[in-house]
């Protein structure tokens, strides 16, 4: 099967800065693909190359098997939802949504009908006459989405589309986006710096750092089996264990990761475990309590269900975890 989008050794350099450095990606048709990374990691540059706003310095890009280099954005069957929505301020909502249909010279009655249907899909029926300036952030976001899907593109690119929304709205939009993607069957490529968002929404995630793809996999693979210290740290807020520490437990000198919820925290002296430490900070997060524990100079994060009795700051505790909870990493970085 042809990939929806395929990047082969794609680099984009801005002067001496390598925004993207030999990136390889294969995005399957119909999947919800997330590009996750901190700001400046190259994920947005990657999106702009797929949309056609920018051209690669080297490498090869294919969209459904067709070469994309040198093809301007207006001749790509790819649409984008922009980070700050980029709605046209001089047009009302329905004109914004119908913009691409107007360019295709679809008859006026027909394009208004299709635009109204797209607005209906994003639950904004009846808002057509308003100006973008009269809408809330969440509503603008929906208009941007309707404008991008009205054309039924093969690939929909979303550049941190939920970044400007407040938490509650963001969570409900995450679910809606996922449902929309399922019902439309369009390939979604979603850029975000929010690991929770990427893990909860995507079928597969690519983690970017320093212009390189660090790891590609399902959310579960990325979370449970990070291949590098960066992924462990950025995605799971996992504990990264230094080789010395790992050697003292498993006898191998390797970097490893350990998820906070895999650590059992017990009151000192109630277990045979040799590992005793002191609680440095204790943060109540609702369902869980997050603890920072000092273990003879090694800092470990543990998260404990808040339904259990959780010791307070300064108290001595004994730690325990299964040996196979320690995940050895392939990559030393």
């Amino acid at each position: 099967m042809t990939a929806a989008v395929s990047l082969q050794k794609v680099s984009r350099h801005f002067g001496l800065v390598k925004a993207m450095d030999e990136v390889d990606l294969e995005i399957v048709p119909g999947e919800f693909f997330a590009m996750l990374g901190p700001s400046g990691s190259g994920k947005t540059t990657c999106l702009r190359l797929i949309a056609g706003f920018d051209q690669p310095s080297s490498g090869h890009i294919e969209i459904f098997g067709e070469t994309a280099e040198g093809v301007p954005p207006y001749r790509r069957n790819v649409n984008t939802v922009f980070q700050d929505y980029a709605l046209f301020p001089h047009l009302n909502v329905i004109q914004n949504v119908a913009f691409s249909l107007m360019l295709k010279k679809v008859a006026k009655a027909e394009r208004l009908k299709q635009a109204a249907a797209a607005l209906e899909t994003v639950k904004l029926g009846g808002y057509g006459e308003r100006r973008p300036g009269q809408l809330s952030g969440g509503q603008r976001q929906r208009v941007a989405l309707a404008r991008a899907i009205v054309n039924r593109p093969k690939v929909l690119l979303l550049d941190e589309p939920l970044g400007a929304l407040d938490l509650k709205l963001r969570e409900s939009m995450q679910e809606e986006l996922k449902a929309l993607q399922k019902s439309l069957g369009i390939t979604f490529i979603f850029v975000t710096h929010d690991q929770g968002e990427a893990l909860s929404m995507a079928d597969r995630v690519a983690v970017f750092n320093d212009g390189k793809v660090q790891q590609i996999g399902t959310p579960e693979e990325i979370y449970k089996r990070p291949q590098s210290r960066f992924v462990a740290d950025f995605v799971g807020s996992s504990n990264v264990l230094a080789p010395d520490f790992v050697q003292s437990i498993l006898g191998v000198r390797r970097w490893a990761s350990l998820r906070p919820e895999a650590i059992h925290v017990m009151a000192a002296g109630t277990s045979a475990s040799r590992m005793t430490g002191t609680i440095v900070t204790r943060s109540y997060l609702g369902a869980v309590v997050r603890l920072l524990i000092d273990l003879n100079g090694t800092s470990l994060h543990a998260s404990v269900p808040s339904s259990e009795a959780v010791p307070g700051e300064g108290e001595k505790v004994t730690l325990g975890f299964a040996k196979d909870a320690i995940h050895l990493m392939e990559n030393e970085k």
């Binding site: 949309a51 056609g52 706003f53 301007p72 954005p73 207006y74 790819v78 649409n79 984008t80 922009f82 700050d84 980029a86 709605l87 046209f88 301020p89 001089h90 913009f99 691409s100 107007m102 360019l103 295709k104 404008r147 991008a148 054309n151």
Partner: protein, 314 residues
Amino acid sequence: MSAEAAILPGRGGLFGGLSDTFWRRPKLFVFLLLLPAALWLGIVYLGSLFALLLQSFFHIDDFSGLVVHEFTLKTYAELFKPQNFDIIVRTASMAAMVTIASAIVAVPIAYVAARYAKRRWKALFYLAVMLPLWSSYLVKVYAWKLVLAKEGIITWVFEQLHISPALDAILAIPVIGGNSLSFSFIGTFLVFLYIWLPYMILPIQAAVERVPVNLIDASADLGAHPLATFRHVIFPLALPGIVAGSIFTFSLTLGDYIIPQIVGNGRLFIGQVVYTQQGTAGNIPLAAAFTVVPIVIMGLYLWGARRMGAFDAL
């Protein structure tokens, strides 16, 4: 032991007291900020303008040549006499042509300056646009008279290129042609265009600069090729700038009385009539009535621009 810092230290002094008062009463501060401009525009400028307009409702006694201070529309009726109406039509069409031509010349350069020029190029752009404004208006107009004269460089260039007949053909066109460019309507037009062009470029540049780049990306993303993006996104968003610029070029051309006096075929413009009527002819009511014409035209123009949605993107 050192003294503890006060929690609410007083500033004291005249300025301390003043700034505290302003902080507590922001409206007083706003009032004081507006006062100089309000005095100047409200009393000195608007006041004298209304005094002038009042004159237009008087008329001059044909026999004695004295102003009769009675309300009448007789002076306005005079504007519609063929010889006066011609002047109005001539001036308004010149202003319209100068405005359209400056918009056509200004949009591309303003677009390049706003979109592509960075740092030094941008400084160079501002310098190039503003530099002509630093030198005397009269010097520039007289320089143009030399450029456009029969012995001037334009005639010379046409001769060197062996296309003098083309120039002669243009000058042979009735009404807009003449003996030479410097004695023709075309010449007047060219000088107006040069003199007022900066006032068109700067507002358009400011308007284009405010168009977010991602709107242009979005337009392309939705399938618009560059020309369609210009037509459907950049032009509508730059329109308030174009209207602002056209207010300058249009009203400045309507009111000018020096350029047509130096470069042109001797046919009168509104400004020249106002100048002669209130000066040598001593017919202040007619001069005042002529002054009302540009104000009415500008009013209609702005009303029309607003109706057509030129300010919707503001």
